[in-house]
Amino acid sequence: MLTRDEAEKLIQEVLAAYPPEAAEDRAKHLAVLDGEALEGGCGITANRKSLPGVMTIRGCAYAGSKGVVWGPIKDMIHISHGPVGCGQYSRAGRRNYYVGTTGINAFGTMNFTSDFQEKDIVFGGDKKLAKLLEEANALFPLNKGISVQSECPVGLIGDDIEAVAKKKSVDLNKPIVPVRCEGFRGVSQSLGHHIANDTIRDYILDRPKADDGIQAGPYDVAIIGDYNIGGDAWSSRILLEEMGLQVVAQWSGDGTLAELERTPKVRLNLVHCYRSMNYISRHMETKYGIPWLEYNFFGPSRIADSLRRIAARFDDRIKAGAEAVIAKYQPMADAITNRFRPRLEGKRVMLYVGGLRPRHVIGAYEDLGMEVVGTGYEFGHNDDYDRTQVDLKNTTLIYDDASGYELERFVERVRPDLIGSGIKEKYVFQKMGIPFRQMHSWDYSGPYHGYDGYAIFARDMDMTINNPCWKMMTPPWRQPNAA
């Protein structure tokens, strides 16, 4: 690990390459973590506009709404309203697994788009949208509702998608949710989460409907902010149900409209990805009095800790259930740790990911004897950094919305044994000779949540770091005439 001085020097070096104004701005987003300063937060500036000209790996508000919050709701049709590209490129890339028959009662991997052409931009796309809603509904009559995810041009030309949705909602007799998530809103996908949460509130939870008559059970809970990437929510759900809780809703991986509608009757909302779903949890807390709790199901230590914290909100039966679950799986977790820890002990990891992983996975790495020496968020807010701080030791490099250049320089200097980041960074770092895991969609693997996920996580990290291929290439800094 770099010492504090080395890390600070490294930041200065990186900043030196920028023009003075840019350097001043970027300096606010880079920090060396000081465990002492816990009180006032780690002092990083987050959730600000990316600097024009530097490479950012952020997504847009549309990506936040369509890709994260609404997209995984499987029994609804999600229309990408605008040109074809946004929908096509965001189509099923996150591997939000679901059960159901695609095209019959599940639509997660399908791409619905209004495919704007020049004349739609000139004359407006409202008529097209109305027609599209009818067509989609006629072709796929078992859909439970439709969301309209507006792309940039729709906001720019000022189409009134709310009016179309309102009218068609009556005609088709199902919820049609217009989501004003044009990509240009906000500084990153983060605002898209917020906007999408607000539309769930306004169009789904607050929608007047006949009471379904379902009585809430004493142990009803909802999983909030788990997108079931590679089956994550399933391996989490198993544990919650084994300890005696009843998971009545999954938001939003493998989730359904009926589950969303039922959530205001649960006893506790269990929030995994705070960044994307805290808004709706707060709403349900104030409006329906449902408390929420953040938990972390990466790695056995955090799983056990989370299970106990969840159980503490319930009676002795659930507390005993949690202990029983931990006792049952601990031997399995220990066996995994014993097998992989010797192969991974002391390896250093740098992370740069999205909403929850820059901090949530740290525990899992530590369970395997690895050390996280740098971490950062693409679109985190200040409170995310404050939460991260608790999980990190001193002199760890922190970077907010890092540019390609910054990351490369950091990596060159820190030379971690593993990098966990997104697909855009993957091949750059692999070519630099550094083992890499794609930590957005688990590199086509997963699940990583829960005990089952830990087994796969440990195997994947070992498989990546100890892959013999690394011995067959010479990274740039070992080449004799390296600049």
Binding site: N47, H194, Y279, R282, E285, T286, G289, H381, N382, D383
Partner: protein, 70 residues
């Protein structure tokens, strides 16, 4: 008139959340903190101060209020 949401954190402290700014901060002090009078100036851990028209009773938390920035 920003909107704020008040809740308790796990340590039992009063937390203020400002949705517009996505800001979450502990409320350090509440000017009037009695059962029949609650509100006034709320000072947040980040140094900001908000004014809530005093209520005639303690609010049931979690709750949403409109406040004034001081």
């Amino acid at each position: 008139m920003p909107e704020i949401m008040l809740r308790h954190n796990e340590r039992g402290e009063l937390l203020c959340y400002v949705p517009k700014k996505d800001l979450e901060a502990v409320v350090r002090t509440v000017e009037f903190d009695q059962d029949d009078r609650w509100g006034g100036t709320l000072s947040l851990a980040n140094g900001e101060k908000l004014y809530l028209e005093p209520l005639t009773q303690r609010p049931l938390i979690p709750v949403t209020f409109r406040v004034r920035k001081l």
